[in-house]
Amino acid sequence: MRAGPLSKPEVIKLLNAHFVPVYAVNEDYHGEGPQPTEERREFTRIYRGALDGKLSAGTVHVYLTSPDGKVIDSMHVAEAARTEKLLATLKRNIGRLGVPAGETLVKPKPQSTPPTGMANDAVALHLVSRALGGGGSWGGVVENWVVLSSKEWAAFRPPVAKVGEEWRIDPEVSAKLLTHFYPSTENNDVSKNVFDHQRLEAKVIAVDGEGETATLRLSGSLKMKHTFYHKDDRNVAQAEMVGFVQLDLSTSTIREFGLITTEATYGGGKFAVGLRLVALPKNQ
């Protein structure tokens, strides 16, 4: 949907001018998901409303409600992902309800944003994974946000601030970063990933001032089982990578962080991952 109809100008125009668009992540509405009871109640009401109205219903679905919240139409994602079918449904309901074109009700804004509520001494890293052809994935580009606590990023502080000093990054910390090193797949439950091996090593390559700042070279590799769907298969992500860290030794903070794959494969295709530090507002 994201790379399909929800990227098409005509669909975007109709949604903004005639509808109130909203998306809901199923995981957030079940079990220990963060959505509150009142929000879950509406989620369930719409699902049941579709069933009661003899409309299609499912977990990956489009639902249209009337201005009063009654479910009036629905589409399975396989149908909704076809732009012409989605457009036809949107236009049919605009006509049926007689909805005039108007202004976009919610100001559009970036949907991929850094996590909120981070501890003051935590750092946020932004990951981009891009398919480079050869198949094996959905293609395109995907993202992740990874937050490291001060205890975790301390793994990048050199035991001794001396050029040539080398050490292995705490495997738990490197695993937290590298578990996202796979291209776009249906399965995004990283708790199911299984490492054959993963390793990230650091070496001090420069110390500036009077030991105030240090630059590290990172190098690493991984081999990780990651199934494409939520069922077992033989897909494995493999990658080699290189990167750097610039540390402020006087304040024990990370100034810059960059890590990029130099070679990465999955399911017969190639991909590339880049991971970098994102500066956040002080109040984050």
Binding site: M1, R2, A3, L6, S7, P9, I12, L15, N16, H18, F19, V20, P21, V22, Y23, A24, V25, N26, E27, Q35, E39, E42, T59, Y63, L64, P67, D68, G69, I72, N93, V99, G102, L105, P110, Q111, S112, V128, V141, V142, E143, N144, W145, S184, N188, A206, T215, R217, E240, V242, G243, F244, E256, G258, L259, I260, T262, A264, A272, G274, R276
Partner: protein, 94 residues
């Protein structure tokens, strides 16, 4: 031989020119120079970032949640478009 070599050079140049990634997104030989490493890595990470046409989802005025959407719908007499899914559409991981 010369013309074939020239043709190959032209093809490589064209691929570089028309591909937003060029070949910089994947190189089997990481840079040796320590001094140039940060710039080398940063440049390649920048090349990988989503392009505007890959972020059109951001051009849609999404409500915060279902209740917010229903409030706006009632107030402005508009229908709600709700997309439910597994994963994270905002990250492309879905």
């Amino acid at each position: 031989m010369h013309s074939r070599s020239h043709l190959n050079t032209v093809i490589v140049a064209l691929v570089w020119a028309i591909s937003p990634l060029g070949t910089s997104a994947e190189t089997k030989k990481p840079i040796d120079s320590d001094a140039e490493l940060p710039a080398w890595v940063s440049k390649r990470i920048a090349v990988l970032q989503p392009r505007p046409e890959e972020k059109r989802l951001d051009e849609i005025g999404w409500a915060d949640d279902i209740r917010h959407a229903l409030q706006l719908a009632k107030k402005h007499r508009r229908p709600v478009f709700l997309f439910t899914h597994d994963g994270r559409i905002n990250l492309g991981r879905c």
